[in-house]
């Protein structure tokens, strides 16, 4: 469950959100579309709490948050396995347990055999799959996806979306899926909203 209540957010003089109210039910997959610079990433950051609202409140259900960034954002000095294991260790799992679970998730995203590779040795698509594995590994109650496949080519994108979709269906996390591609949103989301710059959101239906 995620609720925005009369949220306003500005960066200096740039108003990104003005009195935004929005509710995402538990287990719902919300697609968020909007042009570049409209505030999609900011919306996700408000949900994580790393960016506080100027006014209003953002309420998020208890539990782990998985986040797939616009770019893979892996630690270049850690292997694929330890990048995934890191998010688990942050939850208090011991190193061995974290690695065992991480290996399972890497296999799940089709990266069995690449556990010991460093990010620079992986292609962009593979790195983004590690990032997906990292997000799922924490067993998220809330899953935030920020244009996760925007830098991946079309063929790969389709197979990544299949993986994502199957995992999302079985986990029943609350998902906010940000994209600037309406077609992508339609494929995955239960409901779609469009961010109208400097206003708020407009429902687009599914």
């Amino acid at each position: 469950m995620i609720t925005f209540q009369n949220v306003s957010k500005a960066f200096d003089s740039l108003k990104v959100f003005n009195d935004l109210s929005l509710h995402v039910a538990t287990g719902e997959i919300l697609g968020v579309v909007g042009p570049s610079g409209s505030g999609k990433t900011t919306m996700l950051k408000l949900i994580t709490g790393i960016v506080p609202p100027d006014t209003g409140t953002v309420t998020v259900a208890e539990g782990a948050v998985g986040y797939v960034f616009q770019e893979p954002r892996l630690l270049p000095w850690r292997t694929a396995l330890d990048n995934v294991a890191g998010s688990l260790r942050a939850q208090g799992k011991d190193k061995a347990g974290a690695r065992a679970a991480a290996a399972g998730w890497l296999e799940r995203v089709g990266l069995a055999g690449f556990e010991g590779y460093h990010p620079a040795e992986l292609s962009g698509g593979m790195a983004q799959r590690v990032s997906v594995a990292r997000a799922f590994a924490v067993e998220p109650r809330i899953l935030l996806l920020d244009e996760p496949f925007s830098s991946v080519d079309t063929v790969l994108k389709s197979s990544l979306m299949d993986i994502l979709e199957s995992i999302i269906r079985e986990r029943r996390a609350t998902v906010v899926y940000v994209t600037h591609d309406l077609g992508e949103a339609r494929r995955l989301a239960d409901r779609i909203v469009e961010i109208v710059p400097r206003r708020g959101v407009r429902e687009l239906g599914a």
Binding site: T48, V65, Y67, G86, A90, Q91, H118, A120
Partner: protein, 256 residues
């Protein structure tokens, strides 16, 4: 293939550079009064004498011990303070005057002051070395911390990395490269500081032996101690620092 050819060519030119220095030295020693300029051969003889009589190893060990302790204390302090200051602006502002003073006061002043306080000996040398070395490591560490990719830090915060993991997984590996550069710089400074401190404030060690050779007008020994210093630096740089750097920054290599 490419790499090994280039590195071979590089070592060839480096060897030529060494040969040029030796040739120039030989030439100078032919022209200049041998009482003030020992020839390479005389220097080698003096060096052999020192090594044979074990004097060389005794002084070398004494100097090495002071160097390592002084460097460890100074660079360690610079690293710890640098991490704190890099992560916390208030600590940085607080330490800024100290850093400025540390970098501005001439090494000789620090050395003389330390002798004035503590007399001659190990502690004085170590104190001088640590005090001269810390600001370099500190500055490198601070700028390293501040240049850590903010996106990775954001990732750590999103995944609720506790302080221990933020430091161990993101900040410390993120500063490994500038810290290694700082350590290399610091080591060079520490060697110079150790010798300076030994010339002024000790009755043993390479610096003191050099000083004594000078008092005795023993040119071959004087030059022999210089060669010892260069050899010491070479062993530290190529035997310790470079392999360490290669190990610490291994993840970069694998990308290639």
């Amino acid at each position: 293939m490419m790499r090994s050819t280039t590195s071979h060519r590089r070592s060839l030119y480096a060897a030529l550079g060494v040969a040029a220095i030796l040739a120039l030295w030989e030439l100078l020693s032919l022209v200049v009064n041998p009482a003030i300029m020992a020839s390479p051969v005389d220097t080698a003889k003096a060096l052999a004498g020192l090594a044979w009589g074990s004097r060389l190893w005794v002084e070398l060990l004494i100097t090495l011990k002071r160097l390592v302790i002084g460097l460890a204390v100074g660079a360690g302090a610079g690293l710890v303070l640098g991490v704190l200051a890099g992560m916390e602006g208030r600590v940085r502002s607080f330490l800024e005057p100290l850093r400025w003073a540390g970098m501005t006061i001439p090494a000789v002043i620090i050395a003389v002051l330390a002798m004035f306080w503590f007399g001659l000996g190990d502690f004085t040398v170590i104190f001088i070395v640590a005090l001269i070395v810390w600001p370099t490591m500190y500055v490198n560490t601070v700028s390293g911390i501040r240049s850590v990719d903010p996106k990775l830090v954001e990732m750590g915060r999103v995944y609720h990395f506790p302080r221990r993991l933020l430091l161990g997984e993101i900040y410390l590996p993120g500063i490994a490269s500038p810290v290694m550069a700082g350590l290399t710089l610091s080591t060079g400074i520490a060697v110079r500081a150790t010798v300076l401190a030994e010339v002024l404030g000790a009755l043993s060690g390479i610096g003191h032996a050099f000083y004594r050779a000078n008092s005795n007008l023993d040119a071959p020994q004087l030059f022999a101690w210089i060669v010892v210093l260069l050899a010491l630096m070479a062993v530290i740089e190529f035997g310790v620092l470079r392999p360490l750097k290669r190990r610490v920054l291994r993840w970069r290599k694998e990308a290639g």
